[in-house]
């Protein structure tokens, strides 16, 4: 199996992008990825368009995105895995290039959420769970993660103050990311005083809906070496699924088995372990999620994720810097774009181009992306 390289990355400003449509956001990210790779469209022989399509006004958005990017008549693939769409999109592209069906592909994650009314968004949010057995009781996305938080607090004594440290850390780094939706630091007190959403989660424990796009240009090893002198290699890919219904899951709900399974596969494929990771991007859809992810990825023992935060180990300069681009909590969460946004940040870290947030000598990066309420989780390991 040949290696697959990321040869160009692009990213739009995330947030309320009332100036741009879905296809235009996709173009911004795609065009900046081509600039980054110093190439034009002619070598792209297929596109993978990643979006949680229920948010889009456009049905089957790969059709219009491929047209607007000028990528007809090459094949295009629409990939949907809720919040993990573009991590799964990279896996799709990886397989297509590995199979030699394609040589150079554009993986475009894109989402346009803020043109929906808040009524429409809340209605969609109400159907994020098992629509037959759980949604009829008034579930929400935050409610599911709140139930994990309640369980973690009861078992390990995790506190709301400790969870707030995730938001404080990520907003601190978000203030250095010009693409982030929120670029203002926040205090623990402000997090604790924000209004309740689904106890114990409060407004500033939660990421925000956003518009945005991110793009990865990938190529087989031969083309990657020809087209760039600084490829970043896909070293490990792990993807797992879990029951969508909360009632279908086992254990005390203090961790996500789906992430543990994805991490195991990715570490195995890359031939590395959690201690080898220099910089990580993890799915902080909610503050508690980042803490569970530390534990599920093996950065901390079960129940001790909060200690990493308290000791500053996941800060820049710590043992394993996490979400140094601000995470979903600062950047906003344009669902289909988030996975590619994480890989954009890692690629820049591994190329040593992260400026004031550069992790010194970063050689191995890990991104973890959860889909929906935890039915999918993808772990991607990149190597400089």
């Amino acid at each position: 199996m040949g290696r697959i390289g990321i040869i160009g990355v692009g990213h739009t400003k995330f947030g309320k992008r009332s100036d741009a449509s879905l296809r235009e956001l996709a173009f911004e990210a795609y065009s900046s990825a081509l600039d980054d790779a110093d190439m034009d469209s002619s070598k792209i022989d297929g596109s993978v368009v990643c979006s949680a399509t229920h948010y889009d006004k456009q049905r089957s958005p790969a059709g219009v995105v491929a047209e607007y990017l000028g990528l007809n008549p090459q094949p295009t693939f629409n990939v949907e895995a809720a919040c993990a769409s573009s991590a799964v999109g990279l896996r799709t592209g990886w397989a297509l290039v590995s199979s030699k069906l394609h040589d150079v592909m554009a993986v475009v994650g894109v989402q346009k959420m803020t043109e929906l009314s808040s009524e429409e968004i809340q209605e969609l949010m109400g159907r994020a769970g098992d629509v037959m057995w759980e949604s009829p009781f008034g579930t929400t996305m935050p409610a599911y993660y709140a139930m994990y938080a309640t369980a973690h607090m009861a078992k390990y004594g995790t506190t709301e103050e400790q969870m707030a440290l995730v938001t404080v850390k990520n907003r601190k780094y978000g203030s250095k990311n010009p693409n982030a939706m929120f670029q203002k630091p926040i205090t623990t007190e402000e997090v604790l005083k924000s209004r309740p959403v689904s106890a114990p989660l409060k407004l500033f424990d939660c990421c925000a809906n956003a518009d945005g796009a991110a793009c990865l240009i990938i190529a087989n090893a031969e083309k990657a070496k020809k087209l760039t002198d600084r490829p970043v290699w896909v070293a490990g890919l792990g993807l797992a699924s879990s029951p969508m219904s909360l009632a279908g899951r086992t254990g005390p709900l203090t961790s996500f088995d789906v992430t543990k399974n994805a991490a195991k596969a990715a570490y195995q494929m890359a031939g590395v372990g959690p201690n080898d990771v220099d910089v990580a991007e993890v799915h902080d859809s909610f503050s508690i999620t980042e803490i569970l992810n530390y534990e599920d990825l093996g950065f901390a023992k079960p129940g001790s994720g909060t200690r990493l935060l308290e000791k500053g180990e996941t800060e820049l300069g710590g043992k394993i810097p996490v979400n140094i681009d601000g995470g979903l909590i600062s950047k906003g969460h344009p669902v289909g774009a988030t996975g590619a946004s994480q890989l954009f940040a890692l690629t820049r870290q591994l190329r040593g181009e992260a400026g004031s947030t550069q992790v010194d000598g970063a050689k191995l990066g890990l991104a973890q992306n959860i889909g929906g309420i935890g039915m999918y989780s993808a772990v991607t390991i990149l190597r400089a």
């Binding site: 929400t140 409610a143 139930m147 938080a149 279908g248 709900l253």
Partner: protein, 135 residues
């Protein structure tokens, strides 16, 4: 009326496990059991995972359960907003199955903690809807 009658606000109207509603009407909660291998399913399933047999029978379920985790929802989907804040819980029944259900407002929120013993009981909504909750 179809299965949309299930829940505080049902979304799915057509299913093979529609008979659950007639049990709920009689104040009973029922699971399905595979007639071939005997495996029990709750929430009910029409198709056995183990033997792919799809001939099932209905068995009444004991509602005794232990709470695993819970939340109190303040920010709800539009149709549920008039009822906020409300409690949702996940519990393990004595049969070993898990159930996701609202927690009755008669339960003191301060007492809630994983392990708490609760009972899954039939509940009736104001629109002729039927469901179960933990009390």
């Amino acid at each position: 009326m179809g299965f949309e009658k299930f829940g505080r606000f049902g979304y799915v109207s057509q299913t093979k496990v529609n008979p659950l509603l007639s049990y709920l009407e009689k104040g009973k909660i029922a699971a399905t059991r595979c007639k071939k291998c005997g495996r029990k399913y709750f929430p009910p399933r029409a198709d056995c995972l183990d033997c792919r047999h799809s001939i099932i029978e209905w068995v009444v379920l004991d509602g005794k359960s232990n709470l695993i985790t819970f939340t109190q929802v303040f920010f709800a989907p539009p149709v549920f907003q008039p009822e906020t804040p409300y409690l949702l819980g996940l519990a393990e029944l004595v049969s070993g199955s898990r159930v996701f259900a609202p927690i009755s407002p008669t339960v003191d929120k301060e007492q809630l903690k994983p392990g708490l013993e609760l009972n899954l009981k039939v509940a009736k909504g104001s629109r002729d809807n039927l469901y179960y909750w933990l009390e």
